[in-house]
Symmetry: C2
Subunit: 416 residues, 2 copies
Amino acid sequence: MLSRNDCLQADQQDPLARFRQQFALPADTIYLDGNSLGVLPQGALARSQQVIAEQWGQGLIRSWNDAGWFELPARLGNKLAALLGAGADEVVVTDTTSLNLFKALAAALRIQQQAHPARRVIVSERDNFPTDLYMIQGMIDLLQQGYELRLTDEALPLEAALDDNVAVLLLSHVNYRTGAMYDMAATNALAHRHGALTIWDLAHAAGAVPLALNAADADFAVGCTYKYLNGGPGSPAFIWVAPRHQDRFWQPLSGWWGHARPFEMGSDYQPAGGIRRFLCGTQPIVSLALLECGLDIALQADMDAVRRKSLALTDLFIELVEQRCGEHPLTLITPRDHARRGSHVSYRHPHGFAVMQALIAAGVIGDYREPEVLRFGVTPLYLGYTDIWDAVDTLKRILDSGSWDAPQFHRRGAVT
Amino acid sequence: MLSRNDCLQADQQDPLARFRQQFALPADTIYLDGNSLGVLPQGALARSQQVIAEQWGQGLIRSWNDAGWFELPARLGNKLAALLGAGADEVVVTDTTSLNLFKALAAALRIQQQAHPARRVIVSERDNFPTDLYMIQGMIDLLQQGYELRLTDEALPLEAALDDNVAVLLLSHVNYRTGAMYDMAATNALAHRHGALTIWDLAHAAGAVPLALNAADADFAVGCTYKYLNGGPGSPAFIWVAPRHQDRFWQPLSGWWGHARPFEMGSDYQPAGGIRRFLCGTQPIVSLALLECGLDIALQADMDAVRRKSLALTDLFIELVEQRCGEHPLTLITPRDHARRGSHVSYRHPHGFAVMQALIAAGVIGDYREPEVLRFGVTPLYLGYTDIWDAVDTLKRILDSGSWDAPQFHRRGAVT
């Protein structure tokens, strides 16, 4: 049986423990929701003051050049590339994950249309994050060209869903609800054998698991920077395209930031070379600039060490729940296989919503996802082994006492 | 002949003079570029600290509910509505102007497609802001349904461009380069007589001129919040749809924020009622929240008084240039007619770029736009009559001395 002392010892030997001091964490809180909104880097407040008071307030319009605002999407994309297994000039940070999915999907469909015009099926997973499916549906509805969304599920596994009609396979690398992770290289190979291009949503993967987009032979990827990358609420998303597509892709959200010579103000769109053509309109500079604070911390860490600790912490969570909460109706829905697990752990519980509210009230912040899922995000840069012990201890106390079954824990807000 | 003393007297009698203290303006600068990037409201720095340190740092994920983050696009849209002549629940603040143009265009084309499927022409102005044209071109290329962009210019006036094939008329209310303004009500009536729907880009109009979207019978409008609304660099844009279209419009950038029940996480997109279906992905909260500081100042001002002062200041600018710089090759390209003038004044000069760099070096910040255009934005909330005098005085000095013709004023940056 594990003890809290074992966890204290593990924290003392943790080579990543020093990263915690780079974040401003609320007192008396164990934050297991970094997979939804990452925490505040210590440097972010000073950075915001610099951007707002100096660059905006004093520099004003000159800051587009002098403070490098116009270059931020490409400069931050180049920094982020190291965490994605991508190269220079392959990533930009811009817009939202949903919008970048639309751009990547349009680009992939156009490539296929030119080579294999009969391919009209887009494959995704029924359990994918909803916005991924909604954006595909919006595209299909807009195009009115006979495209079709085919969803994998228990009745239709991925292998059976891929055939010669498939243009694009669009998947989340790590599932937002279960934490299940695809083998990206194997999945790309499978898709390519069937002639499909792949688009990866890395929202729950970037900064959480080692990524090797080029080595895994992916085609397109998009993702989120406000989860494991600690970019701040709604910080802009990213998009990557494989070098082999860089010179031939096209995308329809062709705003002036993606123009080859935006300040010539010509009336015809001429796409910029390479990844910059994925840019569209003027970016929210304050939110964009703040992302660099979280990114710079992540770049100091050895991603393999982050992965080892992530697996150790999720293993610990699973083991402690088994040891200490075994009599309660918690069903683990996260894969036990390390190769198939991202960086969060999820359980179904018949009263998941109320249990999570009780946990939050007790200072253990995870989140709840329909249906009845308790979700616990594990972020190795600011969580320790003792945090996991204390979180499960609180969960045990709430379940043993039944304190979750109080009226205040059943009330739902706009965002649950 | 006007004197600087006349300007000092006008400032003393200016009922809007008190607004200047609500902004943090750089010393020794006359800022005539508020039509490109508005200035810093005094309250914005404290607001950013609240959002970053308290809401993000301490509230973390709870702030989506507790700090009202999720409601920001609709709540700020409702505030902004007063400046647009729009009603409650008709406006959301979200994404960028380019992206909102794409949404509005898709919505308008779909409405037309259902009623008048033969209409396949989109009319805009050759001299429109480029991103407006680029987004139309992207849409046409994406749809592959035989749509066509028809551009008005000297050879093809608007009246001649409208016929029974036109689905949508997309115009900027105030031209970004010349400052020329359309009569919105008359233009809507003209378009409607020809069966076309209208989309207005209000980037250079919102906060600068009185707007009455409903009274003028417009169909759709989008616009920018970082110019005359002082929202901060790249603060999110807005979109409005006329109440008569609210229950029937559709748009393809159908992300989860536009879903009727986003947190049920269903796999089928069901649009939210009304304007919220124009939302797509997670918004950049820090940049979005900061907009409220500028908005709150604008809402304190009487828009008719703002308009009177704007016209008085642009009249003054034009008059002083005539009186004092008459021997230099400056060609006014802004309409003298008040009814056709927005809130900036533009001149062509054969060496416009260098002249503007010399002005900026001397502390008079306007901007330059191809081809050879000097652009001077007039923002009545923080500019006075003496500022205009001093700006023209500096222009006169630079032109009289020829000091603009120095090597450093001919060098171009990435953003000119």
